[in-house]
Symmetry: C2
Subunit: 148 residues, 2 copies
Amino acid sequence: MESLETLLSVLRQNHLKITPQRRLILEILVDDASHPTVDQVYQQVITVMPNVSRTTVYNTLHELVALGVLIEVQDMGAGGGRYDTNASQHHHLLCTHCHTLLDIERDFPELELTPVEACGYRIARHQVTFYGVCPCCQQALASQEESI
Amino acid sequence: MESLETLLSVLRQNHLKITPQRRLILEILVDDASHPTVDQVYQQVITVMPNVSRTTVYNTLHELVALGVLIEVQDMGAGGGRYDTNASQHHHLLCTHCHTLLDIERDFPELELTPVEACGYRIARHQVTFYGVCPCCQQALASQEESI
DNA sequence: GTTTATGCAAATCATTTGCATACGT
DNA sequence: ACGTATGCAAATGATTTGCATAAAC
Protein backbone atom coordinates (compact mmCIF):
# COMPACT_ATOMS: atom_id res chain seq x y z
CA MET A 1 0.00 0.00 0.00
CA GLU A 2 1.27 3.41 -0.92
CA SER A 3 1.51 6.14 1.65
CA LEU A 4 -0.24 9.46 1.26
CA GLU A 5 3.11 11.19 0.83
CA THR A 6 4.10 8.86 -1.99
CA LEU A 7 0.88 9.59 -3.83
CA LEU A 8 1.24 13.33 -3.34
CA SER A 9 4.77 13.25 -4.70
CA VAL A 10 3.54 11.37 -7.75
CA LEU A 11 1.08 14.19 -8.36
CA ARG A 12 3.84 16.78 -7.97
CA GLN A 13 6.16 14.91 -10.32
CA ASN A 14 3.45 15.03 -12.95
CA HIS A 15 2.73 18.72 -12.49
CA LEU A 16 -0.73 18.08 -11.14
CA LYS A 17 -1.97 20.58 -8.59
CA ILE A 18 -2.56 19.45 -5.06
CA THR A 19 -6.01 20.68 -4.26
CA PRO A 20 -7.88 20.01 -1.02
CA GLN A 21 -10.27 17.79 -2.96
CA ARG A 22 -7.51 15.65 -4.40
CA ARG A 23 -5.76 15.43 -1.06
CA LEU A 24 -8.97 14.24 0.58
CA ILE A 25 -9.63 11.66 -2.11
CA LEU A 26 -6.09 10.34 -1.76
CA GLU A 27 -6.45 10.09 2.02
CA ILE A 28 -9.63 8.11 1.60
CA LEU A 29 -8.08 5.75 -0.91
CA VAL A 30 -5.05 5.13 1.29
CA ASP A 31 -7.27 4.33 4.26
CA ASP A 32 -9.81 2.22 2.42
CA ALA A 33 -8.55 -1.18 1.32
CA SER A 34 -12.06 -2.43 0.53
CA HIS A 35 -11.89 -1.79 -3.22
CA PRO A 36 -14.47 1.00 -3.12
CA THR A 37 -16.66 1.97 -6.06
CA VAL A 38 -16.62 5.52 -7.39
CA ASP A 39 -19.79 6.17 -5.47
CA GLN A 40 -18.39 4.77 -2.24
CA VAL A 41 -15.42 7.11 -2.55
CA TYR A 42 -17.76 9.99 -3.34
CA GLN A 43 -19.95 9.26 -0.29
CA GLN A 44 -16.90 9.31 1.96
CA VAL A 45 -15.69 12.51 0.35
CA ILE A 46 -18.90 14.45 0.94
CA THR A 47 -19.03 13.57 4.63
CA VAL A 48 -15.92 15.75 4.94
CA MET A 49 -16.38 18.23 2.09
CA PRO A 50 -20.04 18.24 1.16
CA ASN A 51 -19.61 20.41 -1.93
CA VAL A 52 -17.23 18.19 -3.85
CA SER A 53 -18.78 17.03 -7.09
CA ARG A 54 -18.88 13.58 -8.55
CA THR A 55 -17.04 15.01 -11.55
CA THR A 56 -14.03 15.77 -9.39
CA VAL A 57 -14.04 12.27 -7.95
CA TYR A 58 -14.20 10.77 -11.45
CA ASN A 59 -11.45 13.11 -12.69
CA THR A 60 -9.14 12.29 -9.81
CA LEU A 61 -9.63 8.54 -10.03
CA HIS A 62 -8.98 8.58 -13.75
CA GLU A 63 -5.82 10.60 -13.30
CA LEU A 64 -4.56 8.21 -10.66
CA VAL A 65 -5.23 5.25 -12.93
CA ALA A 66 -3.35 7.01 -15.76
CA LEU A 67 -0.43 7.56 -13.37
CA GLY A 68 -0.46 3.88 -12.48
CA VAL A 69 -0.96 4.31 -8.74
CA LEU A 70 -4.58 3.14 -8.82
CA ILE A 71 -5.87 0.00 -10.44
CA GLU A 72 -9.35 -0.44 -11.78
CA VAL A 73 -10.89 -3.72 -10.70
CA GLN A 74 -13.71 -5.32 -12.55
CA ASP A 75 -16.70 -6.62 -10.64
CA MET A 76 -19.21 -8.13 -12.98
CA GLY A 77 -22.70 -8.16 -11.61
CA ALA A 78 -22.31 -5.13 -9.38
CA GLY A 79 -22.77 -1.93 -11.33
CA GLY A 80 -19.75 0.28 -11.58
CA GLY A 81 -16.04 -0.26 -11.50
CA ARG A 82 -14.02 -0.53 -8.31
CA TYR A 83 -10.66 0.87 -7.40
CA ASP A 84 -7.66 -0.56 -5.63
CA THR A 85 -4.76 1.51 -4.31
CA ASN A 86 -2.69 -1.58 -3.80
CA ALA A 87 -0.57 -1.30 -6.91
CA SER A 88 1.69 -4.14 -5.89
CA GLN A 89 1.25 -7.48 -7.58
CA HIS A 90 -1.62 -9.19 -5.83
CA HIS A 91 -4.70 -11.14 -6.70
CA HIS A 92 -8.38 -11.38 -5.90
CA LEU A 93 -10.93 -13.72 -4.41
CA LEU A 94 -14.45 -12.76 -5.39
CA CYS A 95 -17.72 -14.04 -3.96
CA THR A 96 -19.98 -14.63 -6.94
CA HIS A 97 -23.04 -13.97 -4.81
CA CYS A 98 -22.40 -10.90 -2.67
CA HIS A 99 -19.38 -9.62 -4.63
CA THR A 100 -17.20 -9.32 -1.57
CA LEU A 101 -13.64 -9.00 -2.84
CA LEU A 102 -10.62 -10.16 -0.85
CA ASP A 103 -6.99 -9.51 -1.67
CA ILE A 104 -4.69 -12.49 -2.03
CA GLU A 105 -1.29 -11.14 -1.14
CA ARG A 106 0.66 -14.12 -2.38
CA ASP A 107 2.41 -13.86 -5.70
CA PHE A 108 2.29 -16.51 -8.44
CA PRO A 109 5.66 -15.95 -10.12
CA GLU A 110 5.40 -19.22 -12.03
CA LEU A 111 2.74 -17.69 -14.25
CA GLU A 112 4.59 -16.95 -17.44
CA LEU A 113 3.49 -17.22 -21.01
CA THR A 114 5.76 -18.75 -23.60
CA PRO A 115 6.75 -16.43 -26.46
CA VAL A 116 4.41 -18.37 -28.72
CA GLU A 117 1.49 -17.92 -26.35
CA ALA A 118 2.27 -14.22 -25.91
CA CYS A 119 1.84 -13.61 -29.67
CA GLY A 120 4.17 -10.64 -29.65
CA TYR A 121 2.42 -8.91 -26.77
CA ARG A 122 4.70 -7.06 -24.37
CA ILE A 123 3.29 -8.38 -21.12
CA ALA A 124 3.25 -6.02 -18.16
CA ARG A 125 1.50 -7.96 -15.44
CA HIS A 126 -0.97 -10.68 -14.74
CA GLN A 127 -3.88 -10.94 -12.39
CA VAL A 128 -5.52 -14.04 -10.97
CA THR A 129 -9.11 -13.94 -9.85
CA PHE A 130 -10.53 -16.84 -7.86
CA TYR A 131 -14.29 -17.16 -8.01
CA GLY A 132 -16.20 -18.78 -5.21
CA VAL A 133 -18.87 -18.45 -2.57
CA CYS A 134 -18.03 -16.81 0.73
CA PRO A 135 -19.01 -18.44 4.04
CA CYS A 136 -21.89 -16.02 4.55
CA CYS A 137 -23.46 -16.77 1.20
CA GLN A 138 -22.88 -20.51 1.65
CA GLN A 139 -25.12 -20.36 4.72
CA ALA A 140 -27.68 -18.19 2.97
CA LEU A 141 -27.83 -20.57 0.01
CA ALA A 142 -28.09 -23.62 2.28
CA SER A 143 -31.04 -22.23 4.22
CA GLN A 144 -32.65 -21.17 0.96
CA GLU A 145 -32.59 -24.76 -0.24
CA GLU A 146 -34.07 -26.03 3.00
CA SER A 147 -37.08 -23.77 2.57
CA ILE A 148 -37.89 -25.18 -0.86
CA MET B 1 -16.35 -24.45 -28.09
CA GLU B 2 -19.90 -25.70 -27.90
CA SER B 3 -21.76 -26.67 -31.03
CA LEU B 4 -25.05 -25.10 -31.98
CA GLU B 5 -26.84 -28.38 -31.32
CA THR B 6 -25.42 -28.58 -27.82
CA LEU B 7 -26.63 -25.09 -27.03
CA LEU B 8 -30.08 -25.78 -28.46
CA SER B 9 -30.40 -28.91 -26.37
CA VAL B 10 -29.46 -26.93 -23.28
CA LEU B 11 -32.33 -24.58 -24.07
CA ARG B 12 -34.71 -27.51 -24.53
CA GLN B 13 -33.61 -29.14 -21.30
CA ASN B 14 -34.46 -25.94 -19.50
CA HIS B 15 -37.86 -25.56 -21.11
CA LEU B 16 -36.84 -22.42 -22.98
CA LYS B 17 -38.49 -21.92 -26.34
CA ILE B 18 -36.41 -22.06 -29.45
CA THR B 19 -37.36 -18.93 -31.30
CA PRO B 20 -35.77 -17.79 -34.56
CA GLN B 21 -34.16 -14.90 -32.67
CA ARG B 22 -32.56 -17.16 -30.10
CA ARG B 23 -31.40 -19.57 -32.75
CA LEU B 24 -29.76 -16.75 -34.68
CA ILE B 25 -28.06 -15.36 -31.58
CA LEU B 26 -26.72 -18.82 -30.75
CA GLU B 27 -25.40 -19.27 -34.29
CA ILE B 28 -23.59 -15.96 -34.06
CA LEU B 29 -22.08 -16.80 -30.69
CA VAL B 30 -20.87 -20.19 -31.88
CA ASP B 31 -19.23 -18.64 -34.94
CA ASP B 32 -17.72 -15.63 -33.19
CA ALA B 33 -14.80 -16.42 -30.91
CA SER B 34 -13.78 -12.76 -30.64
CA HIS B 35 -15.50 -12.11 -27.28
CA PRO B 36 -18.12 -9.79 -28.74
CA THR B 37 -19.86 -7.08 -26.79
CA VAL B 38 -23.63 -7.04 -26.51
CA ASP B 39 -23.71 -4.41 -29.20
CA GLN B 40 -21.47 -6.39 -31.53
CA VAL B 41 -23.81 -9.36 -31.20
CA TYR B 42 -26.76 -7.07 -31.81
CA GLN B 43 -25.18 -5.57 -34.93
CA GLN B 44 -24.60 -9.03 -36.38
CA VAL B 45 -28.13 -10.05 -35.49
CA ILE B 46 -29.80 -7.17 -37.31
CA THR B 47 -27.89 -7.79 -40.53
CA VAL B 48 -29.91 -11.01 -40.74
CA MET B 49 -33.09 -10.09 -38.86
CA PRO B 50 -33.36 -6.32 -38.83
CA ASN B 51 -36.32 -6.20 -36.46
CA VAL B 52 -34.76 -7.97 -33.50
CA SER B 53 -34.59 -5.68 -30.51
CA ARG B 54 -31.68 -5.06 -28.19
CA THR B 55 -33.94 -6.28 -25.39
CA THR B 56 -34.06 -9.73 -26.94
CA VAL B 57 -30.30 -9.84 -27.29
CA TYR B 58 -29.87 -8.83 -23.66
CA ASN B 59 -32.47 -11.35 -22.54
CA THR B 60 -30.88 -14.18 -24.46
CA LEU B 61 -27.34 -13.44 -23.33
CA HIS B 62 -28.47 -13.26 -19.70
CA GLU B 63 -30.27 -16.55 -19.99
CA LEU B 64 -27.23 -18.21 -21.50
CA VAL B 65 -25.05 -16.89 -18.68
CA ALA B 66 -27.55 -18.20 -16.15
CA LEU B 67 -27.41 -21.60 -17.86
CA GLY B 68 -23.62 -21.56 -17.66
CA VAL B 69 -22.95 -21.89 -21.39
CA LEU B 70 -21.81 -18.29 -21.77
CA ILE B 71 -19.28 -16.47 -19.67
CA GLU B 72 -19.16 -12.77 -19.07
CA VAL B 73 -15.67 -11.39 -19.57
CA GLN B 74 -14.24 -8.33 -17.95
CA ASP B 75 -12.84 -5.60 -20.11
CA MET B 76 -12.11 -2.45 -18.21
CA GLY B 77 -11.82 0.66 -20.29
CA ALA B 78 -14.07 -0.44 -23.11
CA GLY B 79 -17.70 0.28 -22.31
CA GLY B 80 -19.89 -2.74 -21.94
CA GLY B 81 -19.34 -6.33 -20.97
CA ARG B 82 -18.14 -9.00 -23.37
CA TYR B 83 -19.22 -12.56 -23.82
CA ASP B 84 -17.34 -15.77 -24.38
CA THR B 85 -18.93 -19.02 -25.55
CA ASN B 86 -15.82 -20.92 -24.63
CA ALA B 87 -16.97 -22.27 -21.31
CA SER B 88 -13.92 -24.45 -20.82
CA GLN B 89 -11.24 -23.38 -18.38
CA HIS B 90 -9.09 -20.91 -20.24
CA HIS B 91 -7.45 -17.57 -19.67
CA HIS B 92 -7.04 -14.20 -21.30
CA LEU B 93 -4.43 -11.88 -22.72
CA LEU B 94 -5.69 -8.31 -22.97
CA CYS B 95 -4.12 -5.39 -24.80
CA THR B 96 -4.40 -2.45 -22.45
CA HIS B 97 -4.52 -0.04 -25.37
CA CYS B 98 -6.87 -1.43 -28.00
CA HIS B 99 -8.57 -4.02 -25.75
CA THR B 100 -7.98 -6.88 -28.13
CA LEU B 101 -8.56 -10.03 -26.14
CA LEU B 102 -6.89 -13.35 -26.90
CA ASP B 103 -7.68 -16.71 -25.38
CA ILE B 104 -4.89 -18.60 -23.66
CA GLU B 105 -5.89 -22.21 -23.96
CA ARG B 106 -3.35 -23.53 -21.50
CA ASP B 107 -4.48 -24.40 -18.01
CA PHE B 108 -2.65 -23.43 -14.84
CA PRO B 109 -3.59 -26.29 -12.51
CA GLU B 110 -0.94 -25.33 -10.00
CA LEU B 111 -3.00 -22.32 -8.98
CA GLU B 112 -4.50 -23.35 -5.68
CA LEU B 113 -5.19 -21.35 -2.58
CA THR B 114 -4.33 -22.75 0.81
CA PRO B 115 -7.31 -23.17 3.17
CA VAL B 116 -6.04 -20.17 5.13
CA GLU B 117 -5.94 -18.00 2.03
CA ALA B 118 -9.36 -19.19 0.91
CA CYS B 119 -10.92 -17.83 4.14
CA GLY B 120 -13.74 -20.35 4.06
CA TYR B 121 -14.71 -19.54 0.48
CA ARG B 122 -15.84 -22.51 -1.59
CA ILE B 123 -13.77 -21.86 -4.69
CA ALA B 124 -15.28 -22.80 -8.03
CA ARG B 125 -12.75 -21.63 -10.58
CA HIS B 126 -9.97 -19.21 -11.26
CA GLN B 127 -9.16 -16.97 -14.14
CA VAL B 128 -5.81 -15.49 -15.14
CA THR B 129 -5.66 -12.30 -17.16
CA PHE B 130 -2.36 -11.18 -18.63
CA TYR B 131 -2.16 -7.47 -19.38
CA GLY B 132 0.14 -6.15 -22.04
CA VAL B 133 0.47 -4.24 -25.27
CA CYS B 134 -0.19 -5.98 -28.56
CA PRO B 135 2.26 -5.68 -31.48
CA CYS B 136 0.00 -3.21 -33.29
CA CYS B 137 -0.20 -0.84 -30.36
CA GLN B 138 3.53 -1.19 -29.66
CA GLN B 139 4.18 0.26 -33.13
CA ALA B 140 1.58 2.96 -32.69
CA LEU B 141 3.07 3.99 -29.36
CA ALA B 142 6.61 3.98 -30.74
CA SER B 143 5.76 6.29 -33.66
CA GLN B 144 3.83 8.51 -31.27
CA GLU B 145 6.96 9.01 -29.19
CA GLU B 146 9.04 9.82 -32.26
CA SER B 147 6.72 12.65 -33.18
CA ILE B 148 7.14 14.38 -29.80
C1' DG C 1 -0.36 35.94 -14.15
C1' DT C 2 -0.90 31.67 -16.16
C1' DT C 3 -2.46 27.35 -16.12
C1' DT C 4 -5.16 23.91 -14.34
C1' DA C 5 -9.05 22.15 -11.43
C1' DT C 6 -13.68 22.51 -9.91
C1' DG C 7 -18.66 22.12 -9.99
C1' DC C 8 -22.76 22.48 -12.31
C1' DA C 9 -25.96 21.02 -15.76
C1' DA C 10 -26.83 18.70 -19.76
C1' DA C 11 -25.62 14.92 -22.75
C1' DT C 12 -24.45 10.26 -23.60
C1' DC C 13 -24.16 5.33 -23.30
C1' DA C 14 -25.33 0.80 -21.52
C1' DT C 15 -28.74 -1.61 -19.41
C1' DT C 16 -33.32 -2.53 -17.29
C1' DT C 17 -38.28 -2.48 -16.84
C1' DG C 18 -43.38 -2.60 -17.92
C1' DC C 19 -46.54 -4.06 -20.85
C1' DA C 20 -49.41 -5.26 -24.92
C1' DT C 21 -48.88 -8.32 -28.79
C1' DA C 22 -47.14 -12.38 -31.18
C1' DC C 23 -45.34 -16.96 -31.20
C1' DG C 24 -43.57 -21.74 -29.82
C1' DT C 25 -44.97 -25.63 -27.52
C1' DA D 1 -55.07 -22.90 -25.52
C1' DC D 2 -51.28 -21.79 -22.52
C1' DG D 3 -47.41 -19.75 -21.18
C1' DT D 4 -43.46 -17.60 -22.59
C1' DA D 5 -40.81 -14.42 -25.70
C1' DT D 6 -40.67 -10.34 -28.28
C1' DG D 7 -40.31 -5.46 -29.27
C1' DC D 8 -41.33 -1.01 -28.16
C1' DA D 9 -40.82 2.97 -25.37
C1' DA D 10 -39.73 4.90 -21.24
C1' DA D 11 -36.90 4.68 -17.01
C1' DT D 12 -32.70 4.10 -14.78
C1' DG D 13 -27.86 4.45 -13.56
C1' DA D 14 -23.21 5.26 -14.44
C1' DT D 15 -20.13 8.05 -16.71
C1' DT D 16 -18.71 11.93 -19.80
C1' DT D 17 -18.66 16.53 -21.65
C1' DG D 18 -18.78 21.73 -22.10
C1' DC D 19 -18.02 25.65 -19.95
C1' DA D 20 -17.75 29.58 -16.72
C1' DT D 21 -15.70 30.36 -12.27
C1' DA D 22 -12.25 29.60 -8.75
C1' DA D 23 -7.98 28.14 -7.03
C1' DA D 24 -3.01 26.38 -7.19
C1' DC D 25 1.37 27.17 -8.85
